[in-house]
Subunit: 340 residues, 4 copies
């Protein structure tokens, strides 16, 4: 089959022909219909320090996928050939404290599709049946593949109820845009978004931000104005940038909450007294998707009218993966979908 | 001033001219612009057993109101003459355990406007400043007055997060209709409503029910069909009818929740083992509005696009209050607004 | 091996010699060191209506157990030969909505050890590895076997935080007594217990009840006296008796909670308006143990000093199981342990 | 009356004779029986930068107090002459968003006794009736006065349920010691405490720490050993020291929680990715006491057996306040009580 893989410990990826995967006990073979690109893939492409320590080539990339099950390994009982499924990318151990107490999203032993085992930038991929998520046929394939990424945002937004609440979303990359769309569907009252890219701010407005502004160009006190001087009920940090993190702590109201999803590249000095303690805040560290509550909520959000189409800006054949990486590098895109 | 009051211990109400109210310490005078009618008013009108024990005539009715503050008593600091406000109808003591721990909605000593003290079926009413709720000018007066009633539904729906969840709403009187509209705005996935009146079922569809049916005419197993055989995540009981209460317990999924708002007129035999215990349910008794979280959430819901206009079906001058009671008696109405 | 089983569809149980169990894929063989008796076993013994519909003889009883793993089936990875374990009695499917969202205790497809498959009234029993709970060696075998039953009470007590709260516990059978001991360890302030048996009330005092009384002999208004007229923060219903259920709803304070664990034998007429709705209560239906949060909490409670020894009143060799059933029938015992 | 006050903008305090206070509307006069000293008082004594900006001399210090009400101002209805009460030190506005939604502990407009208005280092003090907390006569005066400070720890410990949970408490000053005692009473399983003072570590062991160690002398990996390699369920940071803050984030388990109460004197660089986000933590900023839930819980904890006597190490007549400040400066004390 065709596959895009990291062939060796150097920058770049290669399109190669490789053997078709064979399912282990409890696994299924997915014929990949669509697979979307993630910032993590860019790190592996460029072979930065993180990637060098985490990835053992050869490795087929891709952890956001949708397809059709075409073969079953032994012991599989919850899905069938012909099922259309997306995949939860975290393969969890099921035996640690976290897995046994409803917190498998922070399993101590999880592995990730496309990082620790072969992924979906290929015609076929072998998956444990436990990560398969049956997807309603109403969801078009180019949206269905990005449920893993969208799930991160669903997890972030719905950590606490947002209905009728004011929100600040810092960072309008794909997960920030997803968060805005989810919050809009969830009945947030006022959604304020920030980014430094006008392209992304425009997308933020399209998916439902009431106000989207560049804090380098407009005074952030506008957040107070838009909330009657109260600050927001919740701030969702989707960028990882220190200035955005401080923006969240500064503009959330006393007794409010900050959800941290974006990954800073270095330690961030926080004025804990004034930014967290005296405000009586709750800070939520967010990673992955709650298994599988987030997926059920996401399915419900689609039925409730969640519209993420504006966020999918480009679709290419798998062979043209380099185009996708170029677009992501330039920041002039939402999500990019590859079709094997 | 003109006022509609229960003059003595007999059925009916009278329109009379009475002295204008004078504000006590901490009170304000509200010029009533709109006031809406509630089932409770019907009970007082018809002078049933409950009303005979609760109401001490003479009493001006009306606990759903909106108006303009025209005078301030001594010690008032949080509102001004000219403010447009609705009123929380529960006047709470501020000193009991419940009031001191964030549960003033079940204050042990509360009194109610229009029941225990004079209400808003009049040109003016005196109110403690603490119950005044400043209302955004975007909300038209004929909707602003029913925030008290709408707040009951907001409290019921948002007791737990409903975003992405499936819901059953039993009873499509005004509070049931409000609940549907709120749940729709909050991003509920599938909303199923029941009532025995086709008039009300039609209103339910207008405000957002995906399916509204009469359980006397259609098998309730349709609830299971609509939810993939799972049952609903939450059931909201807004009618007080025993059959509807059983419907809720029967069709909510294991580990789900039932919110009870409707008031049964007699004890209801519950099969606690199968209806509650083995299902691992949470049952929430709902009364009034959380003070003042529900009001803030409600203000946010309006900003999020909550539309309750279809539920206001009739508006009359205060003098024609009898028309309103007749309509309510016949069940051929949503909410009825009176204009003093 | 020796085993106590329901041989056919008639009252009583028999001690027989049966073949040793053989482990399936993912199963282990437990050498039973101790096993305790439960009210459910009595129902099966006497072969009442419920038992006739649920149990398919021949069936070895026993679902509360502790022992040593002596053999492993294929695919087992989380336990080893020589491990000392208790068993979670609910074998859950892992694939339904409830299992996938942290609520496996109300799995839609669960089976129960000793009811739906052979149990622990025997020298050996085969168990799925997933139900094995490694138990600290400090816990003596005659206590370790009753963790399943104790877990019901831990689940009931800790559904919400009880530290510093006043509690009413209705019913002082073993699960009621366990609940009192757990609540005492958890820092409940005042614990009031009720039962109609003086024998059990005495045990209740031994394990930590501040006041234990027979509501047929003493006016229940003592609950109000003991709580400064407030009523209790939480009521835990462990008996299933209608009068006890009403006691809970009557004496819990507004905005408090009632946990229902005891199983009524018939529908209970509830005055929902006054017992639940106007009080703004939360009612929790409790069944089984949260998997596996309850077990972790229980292990922590033992380390915190939880003492349940007074509740274990009798220990017999397995062969003398009839003595145990006689004691349970007469109500003159706490927990009865059998040693195979 | 006698009073200890900051007479002018210079270091130190003075004992002076000043006029007796007169109650305003809604205020009462408390005859101070006991008052305890807090680190905040030390900052004001030494007149550091924070104190210079916050305090407007002349000001009578003291915000931890217990006494008898000897006179009532107009409009007081919830307390009587002769009542023995402690005082909540935060005087809240009752009108801001936070006050109206159950979060008055982070009121936007609160003032503090002994900082923004005269306090309890005196024979008498005038208090709003709303801050009076009736205290059970069983609590001795030298403990009753420190409920305000103890309440901080109750708030920190009980932000989430700790029963059966493992805890790390960093910092064994008075609030850390109180936290240990509270957690012990609440049924925490293993409590590990850290400090750099052997005097304080010894107090920590006395009030219930299972292990108390100096992380400068013993490798903190002992926390992992004591928790079976899992880390703690919750970490309570009571010191404000950056190294202790990192200890909390490092040793809490995935999906656990960190409560921050200690006030760092400067921004703390946090590795948010590894310390918060990938661990899926909840971080709670803690300030003051939840009004008045914390006080009710505290009263319940005393009834449950909470013992804080070992933490009160010194008692002096008010005139000898300098002795108290000297002791606090040297760190060779728990709480110091003054008797006017």
């Amino acid at each position: 089959m065709k596959a895009v893989l990291k062939a060796g410990p150097v920058p770049g990826l290669e399109l190669r022909t490789v053997p078709d995967p064979v399912p282990d006990y409890g696994e299924v073979i997915l014929k990949v219909l669509t697979t979307s690109m993630c910032g993590t893939d860019s790190h592996i492409y460029s072979w930065d320090n993180w990637a060098q320590q985490r990835i053992k080539p050869p490795r087929i990339l891709g952890h956001e996928m949708y397809g059709e099950i075409v073969a079953l390994g032994k012991g599989v009982s919850s899905v069938r050939v012909g099922d259309r499924v997306a995949a939860e990318s975290h393969v969890t151990c099921g035996k640690c404290f976290q897995c046994r107490t409803g917190n498998a999203h922070v399993c101590k032993n999880y592995t990730i599709l496309g990082l620790d085992r072969d992924g979906s930038f290929a015609q076929f991929v072998s998956l444990p049946e436990t990560v398969c998520w049956k997807t309603a046929p109403e969801i078009p394939p180019e949206l269905a593949c990005m449920q893993e990424s969208l799930g991160n945002s669903v997890h972030t937004v719905l950590t606490e109820d947002v209905t009728g609440h004011t929100l600040l979303v810092t960072g309008c990359g794909p997960t920030g845009l997803f968060a805005i769309a989810v919050a809009r569907t969830a009945g947030a009252s006022t959604i304020i978004a920030t980014d430094v890219s006008e392209y992304r701010l425009e997308l933020a407005r399209k998916v439902g931000a009431d106000l989207a502004f560049n804090p380098q160009k407009m005074d952030a006190s506008v957040v107070q104005e838009q909330t009657g001087g109260e600050g927001v009920d919740a701030a969702l940090e989707m960028s990882g940038h220190p200035s955005a993190i401080h923006l969240c702590f500064q503009h959330v109201k006393n007794a409010g909450r900050v959800a941290l999803f974006g990954i800073p590249s270095a330690p961030v000095p926080l004025d804990l007294a004034n930014e967290v303690i005296f405000k009586g805040l709750r800070v939520h560290g967010i990673t992955g998707r709650r298994l599988f509550d987030t997926w059920y909520r996401l399915a419900g959000l689609f039925r409730a009218g969640l519209d993420i189409k504006p966020i999918v800006t480009h679709t290419f054949p798998l062979e043209q993966f380099e185009k996708g990486f170029n677009l992501m590098h330039g920041g002039q895109c939402g999500k990019v979908v590859l079709v094997p």
